[in-house]
Amino acid sequence: MTSNTPDADKYKNLIQNLLSKLKTDYQYVFSLSLSDGFTVTSRSKSVESIEHHQDTGLAVAVYNNYKKGTASTNNLSLESIQKTIEKAEYISTNTQQDECQGLPESNYTKNDWTDLGIYYPEKLDINEIIDKTIECESEAFSFDNRITNSEGSTFSYSNQKNIILNSNGAYGSYKSTDYSLSCIALAEQDKLMERDYWYSSTRDLDSIENAKDIGRIAARRAVSRLGAKTIKTRACPVLFSPEMAQSIISNFLGAIDGSSIYKKSSFLLNKLEETIFPNFLNIREEPLLEGGPATRPYDIDGVLTCKKDIISKGILKTYLLDTYSSRKLKMECTGNGSLTNIIIDTDRSLTKNIISTMEDGIFITDMMGSGANTLTGDYSRGAFGYLIKDGEIKHPVTEITVASNLLKMFKNIVALGDDIDIRGRIRTGSILIKDITIGGTK
């Protein structure tokens, strides 16, 4: 199925042709995405599923006298594209006028983007991939005899192309690839089961973590959860693993997103130039980070992305604004119709092995539920973790809640770990936050 990958240049020419014939008093944006790839899962030492993917999508946005209409289709025939344009035009005759609507006026992309270090396509042999997933899962089983079951090991490959064109002359395209390998292991003891996972995710096949290592880490994590106890309710310092720290930073980024700000639905409204984090903490965006998981040259509107400080010495320096929200707020657009790579950093040195510095507290490695309210900052989620006493992990803890307010949590950050996770778009190590309420049993 990968043999008939649609030719992106063909669509560029087709859309440029169409653009020259469209209504001149309307503005148009065409966003095209093409992707193909596959996902292989093996479980119980043999292949369980092979899924081949091939997706196409075209979204058309029309601005007609400050009224917007959008339509999309996955059928890229000329007839279907024309119908989609007409549909978007028709919708724009019914929506209401809003003077902030319209194409970006400056800083937009004008060329094909290569050399971003995110495109490493490969011809993959499916049998070798199956072997890799079996090797990964087998390693989890051989790690410990308490690994009694698994949800398998999954490899996925995807090759994408993104194209944008608008009637003001913006044009951009870039290609990217994604590889990932993961494993979910189940451990059992005294008839109670626990699961945990590990994964690697990269832009090129060579950088993907060794299959055996992934299986072994997944197994070690699952086994370490066995024998979890419930604990009493308390307030204490909480160390969030890099994966959990990413979710907290992601709540922060959601709250400074332009659409949250102009909708007045953020607890960080009117907080520009105010101290949000401790003064040793910096957060910056690096859109063109080589090999970055969220690297992209232009945002969803075609505006060039740019490197910026978001938090500098604890102070909020900017909101994340796309074309629309920047007009709405009468501020400069920051090219954040898309969010790219985010780096958490410190002026001090990163802390090695934070656990050893903690007298008591909880180390959280998993959280559940949607309990982060970005309107009020109120935070309450279910969690799994480990009790820490005198610098050491005592035992796993289960059935606990983690509650506070995000604004208070940000201010109460006391240390950043050097265990930086480079897999996700938010690059951070573990984060230690003091004085968080842990709900437990009586």
Partner: protein
């Protein structure tokens, strides 16, 4: 006439003989079973914010998925090109899950004649676009006129018309046209420096007139205002284990998370669920009878037949506290040597089907809701929720309250801030000590995610009391 028949099968000259040929390739000698799933989905949404309808969008997605199954293994390929040669090549890709063998002779069955739970009418074309815009404006005006503290109103109206056709090597041939609409309102109120949110909405498998031509939208609008107002005076909640009374309807998300996912066939066949091997065992208090019912007319979680062509049913999961059965799709039912239950669902043609819930709810009990509240000395009354999640392996689940009150000495006292509750699935229902007589289903806004696939679902329950569950408050 079904959209798939006219837009795809007729247009691409895909008659039964050609479909049989494709399936015979997908189901060659070493393959147990194959199916082909055509889908054409038309969807739209309109959104009002800042007092104007600024977003309107429309989308068409169509494609076909071909699956080859051998024992517990699946090969799968999909495409949005319906040419016969392309479908044959997809079938060839799909069957690579097994070593190649000779093609089997496949016959396409007679079309299934299954009772319809909703009208085959597209909601989208039923009402002109300018009327949808006027409607949203009217609701916005209503809300703003009611309360001067309104800081923001976001209202959306969304509809879709999903046409599917599935044929398989067991002789199933079934067409379905599935309308779905959803209306939602979110209001932010401001008092001093404090801002709080309230939201409400509803929907189902019907046309827009159910919402536009009735007073229901005003009811949702006022409900959103009421909730935001309640939250403006909400105080911090205490953390720790306590007695919790859940209101009727949407708090049934408890059942969806605490036991629903854990009773899906795939997890139990693989024995990765905390409920594995518990059929016939007591897993809940004897007041609890819980069903998953895909057959309720026009409800959001209902389907005439599932995405594998199996008629939906009302399946009893727990009866008087005893675990009765799991929810199955074809693959897992066969491997567990039982029958399908009409729970084989997929987000769309580009995903593999899995066992999924439809409308999951608890049957009513004998207590008056007021009796239940009066029985609590010190606890929480939670009436609205924003969602939940579960780890099916250790049974830990959470659900997050968005409207809750403190109960003191048998009386509802002040509002408390939203918080997450955490419990253990196989344990929590044993702690249900009172079940109300006021069964209510939710208003039709639920979406369930599993393995990256989202499907519309429903939940429901009567008022019920849980003696002991951990509450994620901030106060010690």
């Amino acid at each position: 006439m079904n959209t798939i028949q006219t837009l795809i099968l007729d247009n691409y000259d895909l008659n039964d003989d050609k479909l049989a040929k494709i399936l015979s390739v997908a189901c060659s000698k070493n393959i147990d079973f194959a199916d082909i799933y055509f889908q054409h989905t038309l969807s739209e949404s309109w959104q009002l914010e800042d007092g104007i309808v600024k977003h309107g969008s429309s989308s068409i997605d169509s494609g076909v998925g071909i699956r080859s199954v051998v024992s517990d293994k699946s090969g799968f390929a999909y495409s949005n090109n319906f040419e016969f040669d392309n479908l044959m090549s997809a079938a060839n890709t799909s069957r690579c899950i097994a070593k190649s063998g000779k093609e089997k002779l496949i016959k396409i069955g007679e079309e299934q004649n299954i009772r319809k739970l909703y009208e085959p009418v597209s909601p989208i074309d039923g009402i002109k676009d300018d009327l949808k815009v006027k409607f949203l404006k009217k609701i916005d005006n209503h809300i703003r006129a009611k309360d001067s503290r309104v800081e923001q109103v976001i209202i959306s109206l969304a509809g879709s018309y999903d046409s599917i056709f599935v044929a398989n090597t067991d002789g199933i041939k079934a067409f379905d046209d599935r309308p779905l609409v959803r209306f939602s309102v979110m209001v932010i109120l401001k008092k001093g420096d404090r801002r709080e949110r309230g939201s409400a909405g509803g929907g189902g498998r019907y046309s827009y007139d159910h919402i536009i031509d009735s007073d229901i939208a005003y009811t949702y609008a006022e409900e959103a205002l009421r909730q935001a107002d309640v939250n403006l005076s909400a105080q911090e909640a205490k953390a720790g284990a306590m007695t919790v009374v859940l209101g009727p309807g949407w708090p049934g998300v408890l059942l969806h998370e605490a036991i629903g996912h854990g009773l899906e066939g795939d997890f139990n066949r693989k024995k990765t669920s905390a409920f594995s091997n518990l059929i016939g065992k007591k897993v809940a208090s004897s007041q609890c009878t819980i069903v998953d019912d895909g057959t309720i007319s026009k409800r959001r979680g209902s389907l005439s037949f599932d995405d594998e062509g199996c008629e939906t049913q009302c399946n009893t999961l727990i009866e008087n506290g005893v675990l009765k059965g799991y929810m199955q799709d074809k693959v897992n039912a066969k491997l567990m040597k039982t029958g399908p239950t009409g729970n084989g669902r997929r987000e769309n043609y580009s995903c593999l089907p899995m066992p999924r819930m439809t409308n999951t709810f608890m049957r009513p009990g004998k207590y008056n809701p007021s009796e239940i509240i009066e029985s609590v000395q010190n606890g929480i009354y939670a009436v609205n929720f924003s969602g939940g999640q579960v780890d099916i392996t250790n049974g830990q689940f959470v659900f997050t309250a968005s409207e809750a009150y403190k109960i003191a000495n048998g009386k509802i006292s002040h509002a408390i801030k939203g918080m997450t509750l955490i419990g253990n699935g196989p344990e929590v229902l044993k702690k249900v000590s009172m079940v109300g007589n006021d069964l209510k289903l939710d208003d039709g806004v639920g979406t369930c995610g599993k393995d990256g696939q989202s499907v519309p679902v429903g939940v429901g329950q009567p008022t019920l009391k849980i003696d002991d569950i951990t509450v994620g408050g901030t106060k010690i």
